[in-house]
Symmetry: C2
Subunit: 134 residues, 2 copies
C-alpha cells in the first residue's frame, strides 16, 4: 500500500462486521416492534402495536410469528367482553437479546463518530442533494 492516508488507523480485521446485529432483530419492522415492546413491560394489544408500528394486520402477524419462533416474544390470546384480544409481550430472553442488539447499535453510532483525523459528523452538510425513498 503506497498511500498512508488510505491506511486505517486501527484496522482490526472484522472491526466493522457488527456480528451482534442479528437478522431477526435488525429487520426494520421487527426493530420497531421490539422497541415498542421493550418500553411497555406489560405488553401491548395487537391493534395498538399495529398502529404504533404502522403495519398491516398481515405484516404484523408475519413479523410476530418470526419473533415468537425465535423465543423473543409471547402471544397471549383471550376474550374481553366476548371479543378476542391478543396481547404481545417480550420474553426475558427477548429482552436480553434486544438489549445486546441495542448495545451493538450504539457501537455503530460511536464508530461513526470516531474519525481518524477529524469527526466527519461535524463537517458541513452538502447542499443541493435530495433523496427519494427506495
Amino acid at each position: 500500500m503506497s498511500n498512508p492516508r488510505l491506511r486505517p488507523a486501527a484496522g482490526t480485521p472484522g472491526r466493522y462486521s457488527y456480528d451482534g446485529l442479528d437478522r431477526i432483530l435488525h429487520e426494520k419492522a421487527r426493530l420497531g416492534i421490539m422497541t415498542c415492546l421493550l418500553t411497555r413491560p406489560q405488553g401491548l394489544l395487537f391493534n395498538e402495536l399495529k398502529h404504533l408500528c404502522a403495519l398491516t394486520d398481515g405484516n404484523l402477524s408475519r413479523h410476530l410469528d418470526v419473533l415468537r419462533e425465535a423465543g423473543l416474544i409471547e402471544i397471549h390470546k383471550a376474550f374481553q367482553a366476548r371479543r378476542p384480544q391478543t396481547t404481545v409481550t417480550l420474553t426475558p430472553f427477548g429482552r436480553q437479546r434486544f438489549r445486546d442488539y441495542l448495545d451493538e447499535l450504539e457501537r455503530v453510532i460511536r464508530d461513526a463518530q470516531t474519525c481518524p483525523g477529524a469527526d466527519p459528523r461535524t463537517q458541513p452538510a452538502p447542499t443541493g442533494t435530495s433523496w427519494l425513498p427506495i
Copy 2:
C-alpha cells in the same frame, strides 16, 4: 380497551415505524461499509474495506454495486506499481444520507430508553438464557 396498563402513554400512529431506516443503508454489511467509509474521508482500498468488514471479494463487490447505483459511494480504479488498485469513497450525497440514517438509529436507541413508567434497560438482566446465532 379495558386494561389501561396496556394503553401506550404517547401512542402516536407510526411512532415506531422508523421510516428513516432505508433498506439500502440498513442492511448489516452495508451499514459496516458505510460506517467504515464515513470515518475515512480519503477513502479506503477495496482490500482494506474487505478485511475491516470481514467480507469476501464477491460479497463486498455486490454491496458496493448497490451503494454505487444509489449514488452513495464512488469507486475509483487506478494502477499502482502496475497493480490494479480500487479506492472507495463516500459521495457528499452518501455522507448526508448516512448521517440522516444515523440520526434515525439514535432515535431508536433513545426510544428504547424511554419507558412509560420505568426504564427497562435498567432492570436486572435475566439469567440462564443463551443465544444461538441464526
